[in-house]
Amino acid sequence: MGRSIIEKIWDEHAVADLGDGSWLVYIDRVFLHERTGSIALKGLEAAGREVRNPEQVFCVMDHIVDTLPGRTDDTMMPGGKDFIQTTRQAAKAAGITLFDLGDDRQGIVHVVSPEQGIAYPGLTLVCPDSHTCTQGALGALAWGIGSTEAEHAMATKTLVVKKPKLMEVRFDGRPAYGVTAKDMILYLIGRYGAGAGVGYAIEFTGEGVRSLPQEARFTLCNMAVEFGAWTGLISPDDTTIEYVQGRPYAPGDAHWDQAVAHWRELATDDGARYDQQIVIDCADIVPQVTWGTSPQHTAAIDTVVPDPSTETDHTRRQLMERALEYMDLAPGTPLTEVPIDAAFIGSCTNSRLSDLRAVAAILKGRKVADGVKAICVPGSGQVKKAAEAEGIDTVLRDAGFEWREAGCSMCFYAGGENFGLKTRVISSTNRNFENRQGPRTRTHLASPTTVAASAVTGRLADVRELAPGSEAAGE
C-alpha cells in the first residue's frame, strides 16, 4: 500500500511510541520570534536548561518591530523594546542564530526560513507561531506550538505529539485568470468551515497545486491553520527542489544529490490512503473576499453580502449576524459596492517577491483612490532589496502606497500602530478576527492583487475587471 509524505516523515522522526496515539517526535529545526520566543528562551534560562543543538535553532525579530524607515529598538507598541532586547540577550546567551534588526536577512519568520534554506523537504520544524504550517509548502512537516513546547523542543530535540489523521485536499484543473493561491485557500475554508480541518494534517495535491510556483504554495499552506488543521504540506517536486538549491542553510554540494534522492522518495506514493478527502474543481473558484469575522466568512467577489436568515444552523446564523453587525454590512449588498478606507499588502501569507510583482503589474500607471491609506510591507529584507532592484517600490510609491521595512506590521494590532477605530481595510493577511488589525477595525481578507485593485477603485474590487496597469496606462 502506498504511503503519504506525512506518514513517511512521521516514521522517520518517531523516537518512541508513548501509547494511545502519542509519540515522541524528533525535531530538526526550531524557529523563534521576539513575541513568543522571548518567553520560551527566558523560561529555559530560568529553569537552568540549555538548548541542546543551538546551531539548529533560529530566531528573528518580526512581530513587534516597527516597519517605518529608520526604526530602532523603540516601538510604537508600548513595551515592545523589552521583547526585542530580551530576545536579543537571550538568543546570544543560548548561542542560537538571530536575524536581528539591521540585518538584511531579517523579516517575517515564515518568509525568512524558506528564503535562507532553513526549511526544506523532509524536516520537522516547529515555531511558537500558528502560521508555521506555511513552511509545509516545501514538503516539510512544520507546525505551530506554544512557548512551553518550544522550550521542550529546544531542551530535548523532541516533542510529544498526537499522530494526526490524514486529509487530502485535491485541487483539480488550474486556477483561472485573476485567481490566486489565496483565493483557493479562502474558497476551501469558506466552503467547509474554519474548524473542518481540526485533528488533521493536510496534504494539498492535484494539478491546481502542482501548477503553482513555490511562493504561491506558501500562501496555500499558510492558511491551513485557518481551516483548523494541525498543519498542511505539499509533496516536493522539481519546483520545490529548484527553489531550495543554493540557499545559505540548504544542503550543500557534499550532500545535495543524496538529499534530493531522499526527498523524491518522501513524496506521496500512488494509492496512499487518507482518512478524509476533499476534491475541489479550480473552475469553481473566482477571486474571493471575506465579509465577516472568521476566515470561513468568505464569498466570491462577484456576489453579495450573504443573508443570515438563509442559514439553517442556529449557531452559525448567530455568528453571521454578529459578524455583519461588527462589519457594519447589510445582507444583499453587492461586495464590489463596499467602500474601503485602507489597503494592506504584507504578512506571512502574501509578502513575497512574486506577490509584489503581481501587485506592481496592477498598480503601474494607476493611483490609489482618494482617502484610501495604502501600505505595503515586504516580507523580508531580501524581498525588499529584490523588489527595489526591479523598481517595484517606485511603482507602488507612485501609485500612493507607503513602502515599509520588513516585518509582520499591521497584520495584527499589538497596542501600537493600527488602522484606527472602525476603519475598513482590505488586507492580504490571514485573519479577519474582531479587533485583529485595530480597535473595531473591519478586515476584508483577499489576494494581494485584489487588495491592489481595491486600493485603486476605493471599493472591494473584482481584479478581473482591471487590465494590468501597463495596458491601462497605454490607453
Partner: protein, 206 residues
C-alpha cells in the same frame, strides 16, 4: 504545574463557535515578557466597554454573578483557534479557569492547556448545549463535576458523560508534571536516535 484531579465548580456558557485566541487575549494585552499579569486582559474586547479600557461591560457573562466565580467554560467548536499565543491559556488559568468543555479545540491551544493545568474536555455539541441549558437555569447551584480519575463529567441532572484524553496528557495533568523532565528520562533513546539519524540524513546537521 497545578495538578488537576477533580473539580466541582460553576460553569460559564460562552456558546459561540471559533472563539479565537485573539478574543481570549488581544495582542495589545500581552504587555511584558512574562507569563504573569495576563488575567486583566482576558477577553478584554468583550469584557470591557471600550478597546483598551477597563470599564466592565455588564452584558459579558464573566462580569455577572455568580459566573465571576466560574472555573469551567462551556463553549462551541474550535475554541482557541488562531494564534499560538500561550498567553491565552496563562490568562485563563490566572483568572481561575481550570477546565474548558467544547466539541473541539484549536490544536495548539489544547496542547497549551495540558501544559498549564487546564483540562480540555471534548464533548459533542448537543451535550454542551444541554449542559449549558441546565447551568443557566440556576448557575450557582447547577454546577458541573469533572473527574480526571474516572474521565467523566457529571451534569447538574446527575448524568455522567465519559470523555477521552491521551494517557500522557492525563498523567501530566494529574501529577502536575514538568513535560521536559518527563522526556529527559528518555534521553538515552533520544541520543541514540540522533546518532542513527546523523548517518541516515547527514545533510540535516548544521
Amino acid at each position: 504545574m497545578k495538578k488537576f484531579t477533580e473539580l466541582t465548580a460553576i460553569a460559564a456558557p460562552l456558546l459561540r463557535i471559533n472563539i479565537d485566541t485573539d478574543i481570549i487575549i488581544p495582542s495589545r494585552e500581552m504587555k511584558r515578557v512574562s507569563k504573569q499579569g495576563l488575567s486583566d486582559g482576558l477577553f478584554a474586547n468583550w469584557r470591557y466597554t471600550e478597546p483598551g479600557g477597563r470599564e466592565e461591560n455588564p452584558e459579558f457573562i464573566l462580569n455577572q454573578d455568580p459566573y465571576r466565580q466560574a472555573q469551567i467554560i462551556l463553549t462551541g467548536e474550535n475554541f482557541g483557534c488562531g494564534s499560538s499565543r500561550e498567553h491565552a491559556v496563562w490568562a485563563l488559568a490566572e483568572w481561575g479557569i481550570r477546565c474548558v468543555v467544547a466539541p473541539s479545540f484549536g490544536a495548539i491551544f489544547q496542547g497549551n492547556c495540558v501544559r498549564n493545568g487546564i483540562l480540555p474536555v471534548v464533548l459533542d455539541n448537543a451535550l454542551v448545549e444541554s449542559l449549558a441549558g441546565q447551568v443557566q437555569a440556576d448557575p450557582a447551584n447547577n454546577q458541573l463535576s469533572v473527574s480526571l480519575r474516572s474521565c467523566e463529567l457529571t451534569g447538574p441532572d446527575g448524568h455522567r458523560h465519559g470523555f477521552a484524553i491521551s494517557p500522557a496528557d492525563r498523567e501530566m495533568l494529574m501529577e502536575g508534571l514538568d513535560a521536559i523532565a518527563v522526556t529527559q528520562k528518555r534521553d538515552d533513546e533520544i541520543l541514540a536516535f540522533q546518532a542513527r539519524d546523523r548517518l541516515r540524513r547527514p545533510w540535516v546537521s548544521l
